[in-house]
């Protein structure tokens, strides 16, 4: 047992506790956001220090490899941006700031563990840690939509956990072990294992917002506080894909089994992206629209999963990073705008290009990245993920994904059209410094990685290559 391998998560939980305790004595609550941000440098530093390690500890339950560390870095970065984006929002609309930031940090520690654990029981507890923290955060506004969203999130989380545990129990019953590496040694292709795999896909499907566990997404995205919606849409999805990778490539990586689950993921990918994009067409609320967009993106990500290859793995990691930048950028711009206009309706974004030119330009740019047009990171990510699927002969799926991308252009560009071509209702307004920093980081990231994708691609390749087998 080596506690240094657990140091990113341990330090993050420690920071969360410090934030709660500080909340008791500090009158100015903005300091808490600063402490949380500064505290995030600890897991960041420990993760960077661990880069290059390839080890397991706690009897093989915790794995420290580049795959895990890359996801830890991604989640730390997301948590930092979400905290920056929350400062204004929390000050205006929320109470109990100490607990708010602490829950964001605890959820992050759960998601970091999801990327690093290689044993069923630990995976389950890490997953519940992130889900329960997020559920309390979804409920934070305490008004009717927020409570309804939290209830739906909780009920579906419980249902999917039950399905997940049943799948884990079947696999354990056949192999006699909960360790992913040991499972890979004892597994065979038979009815129990196939049934267990189907149940696991369904259970994890909730986390990544895939069909048929996607119905919570629009309501929860609409009702939750907007920074938490952003958090759910990127961090929760990234951690969900990380754990899917771990389980399916490590435990069920043998060729005959990989063929089965790749087919399941291909069918789910087709259903998920089509449903997400078609439903997004008619949305009038921007948070709901981005909810369906997040479902559609889960579909694109599963295209890379269906490829079930090393190229597919690195393309999914790259896509997740690109999607995180673009989606966070879009949400931060939306938070900045809705903080002022107090409405999530797309029609109320009319004339934003004149009321707040920088925010409107950043939002438009991030939406263009979500469509997948150059020169953004979204373009590279889509080319990368689709080429990985073509390489293994999934041409039908890629054609469907391209058609879907064209459909998605309609609803993303409609927002741009409303912002640039409609008449503004009122005069210009300023936005806060913290939001500007967060927005600058994410939209510059979209541009820079879009123009110079190779360093990040290389990191994604290294991370994906480290994953067994």
């Amino acid at each position: 047992m080596n506690l240094f391998y657990l140091s990113p998560e341990l330090s993050l939980v420690g920071v969360a506790i410090v934030v709660i305790l500080l909340d008791l004595v500090v009158p100015n609550k903005t300091i808490l956001a600063g402490v949380s941000l500064a505290g995030l440098s600890l897991p960041l530093a420990f993760s960077v220090a661990l880069w290059g390690t390839n080890a397991t500890t706690f009897n093989g339950m915790l794995t420290v490899d580049q795959f895990a560390i890359l996801f830890k870095l991604l989640i730390v970065a997301i948590a930092a941006l979400i905290i920056l984006a929350s400062v204004d929002y929390a000050g205006r609309f929320l109470a109990h700031h100490g607990e708010y930031y602490a829950l964001i940090l605890l959820a992050a520690s759960g998601m970091m563990l999801m990327a690093a654990t290689t044993e069923f029981i630990t995976i389950y507890i890490a997953l519940e840690l992130s889900t329960l923290s997020l559920c309390a955060l979804v409920c934070y506004r305490r008004d009717r939509p927020s409570s309804e969203a939290a209830l739906k999130y909780l009920l579906l989380a419980v249902l999917s956990s039950a399905v997940l545990l049943y799948g884990m129990a079947l696999i354990y019953g056949f192999t006699g072990t909960t360790s992913l590496v040991e499972i890979a040694r004892n597994i065979g292709r038979n009815a129990i294992v196939l049934m267990g795999m189907v149940l696991l896909v369904a259970g994890f499907g909730f986390k990544i917002a895939a069909v048929p566990f996607q119905m919570w997404v629009p309501d929860v995205y609409e009702g939750a506080p907007t920074p938490i919606t952003a958090y759910l849409s990127v961090a929760s999805k990234a951690a969900g894909f990380a754990v899917v990778f771990r389980v399916f490539f490590t435990a069920f990586g043998s060729l005959d089994l990989a063929f089965d689950w790749a087919l399941v993921f291909a069918i789910l990918a087709a259903a998920t992206m089509t449903l997400g994009n078609v439903a997004a067409l008619t949305q009038t609320n921007i948070k709901r629209m981005l909810g369906y967009s997040s479902i559609a993106n889960a579909g694109y990500l599963m295209v890379g999963l269906a490829a079930a290859s090393a190229l597919g793995r690195s393309s999914v990691v790259f896509f997740l990073a690109g999607y995180t930048l673009a989606n966070l950028g879009a949400f931060i711009a939306i938070i900045a705008i809705t903080n002022h206009i107090q409405s999530d309706r797309i029609d109320d974004f009319a004339g934003m290009s004149r009321r707040t030119p920088v925010l409107a330009a950043a939002l438009a740019f991030c939406l263009i990245s979500l469509i997948g047009l150059p020169p953004t990171v979204g373009f590279i990510a889509k080319v990368y993920i689709f080429s990985s699927a073509v390489a293994v002969g999934l041409t039908w799926l890629v054609l469907l994904a391209v058609v879907n991308s064209v459909i998605s252009a309609y609803y993303y560009l409609r927002v741009v059209k409303v912002m640039y071509l409609s008449e503004p209702a009122e005069g210009p307004f300023p936005s806060s410094g913290a939001l500007k920093v967060a927005l600058a980081v994410s939209s510059l990231g979209v541009l820079v990685v879009g123009l110079l994708p190779y360093p990040l691609m290389r990191v994604a390749e290294v991370a994906a290559a480290g994953l067994l087998p």
């Binding site: 047992m1 657990l6 939980v13 506790i17 709660i20 706690f58 009897n59 339950m61 915790l62 609309f93 929320l94 109470a95 109990h96 607990e99 708010y100 602490a102 829950l103 605890l106 959820a107 520690s109 759960g110 563990l113 654990t117 044993e119 029981i121 630990t122 389950y124 507890i125 890490a126 519940e128 840690l129 329960l132 923290s133 559920c135 309390a136 955060l137 409920c139 934070y140 506004r141 305490r142 008004d143 079947l170 019953g173 056949f174 192999t175 006699g176 004892n186 038979n190 009815a191 129990i192 049934m195």
Partner: protein, 167 residues
């Protein structure tokens, strides 16, 4: 009675029928208070099932936590909720849901009965409680400690939610 049915398997079948019957009653009854009582019954019979499997520590924990603490919480929750008599409303989807649940149950039963399971040949540990403690605090210490962080998050979340919103 055939000769190969001994007392242990007879008690297993009785307990199994009562457990499943109570579980069905939880879902089928309209009165939510009765549903809670049926749930307690199924908790207790599951504890008895553990006893027949020589897992006496698990049986004690099952009684203490599920039949004791969780049942009390559940009944308090029902009593503090105002519209307790209304019960669950009848939905249009109950028959389709029954069909889907039946299909899933059929598929699972088919898989479980139709497969060859690897049965462990290892002897039972002499002292169950010691073996469980060893597993919890040595082999599975990471999830065990993580569960305390999970509880911390749940407590913080619950406290925030009952403390009320911003004035």
């Amino acid at each position: 009675m055939p000769a190969d049915i001994d007392g242990l398997s007879l008690s297993f079948w009785i307990l199994a029928v009562v457990t499943v019957g109570a579980a069905v009653a939880v879902v089928a009854t309209r009165n939510i208070f009765r549903a809670a009582i049926y749930l307690v019954l199924s908790f207790v019979t599951i504890a008895a099932l553990y006893l027949t499997l020589s897992a006496e520590f698990l049986a004690a924990v099952q009684i203490l936590i599920y039949a004791g603490a969780i049942a009390v919480l559940l009944i308090f929750g029902i009593m503090l909720t105002r519209e307790q008599r209304a019960g669950s409303p009848s939905g249009r989807l109950s028959f389709p849901a029954l069909g889907v649940a039946g299909l899933v149950a059929f598929a699972l039963t088919f898989v479980i009965l139709g497969s060859r399971w690897n049965v462990s040949q290892a002897p039972l540990p002499a002292d169950n409680t010691v073996a469980i403690a060893d597993a919890l605090f040595n082999q599975f210490v990471l999830p065990f400690e993580l569960a305390s962080v999970l509880l911390l998050a749940a407590i913080i979340g619950a406290i925030v939610l009952v403390r009320g919103s911003k004035e």
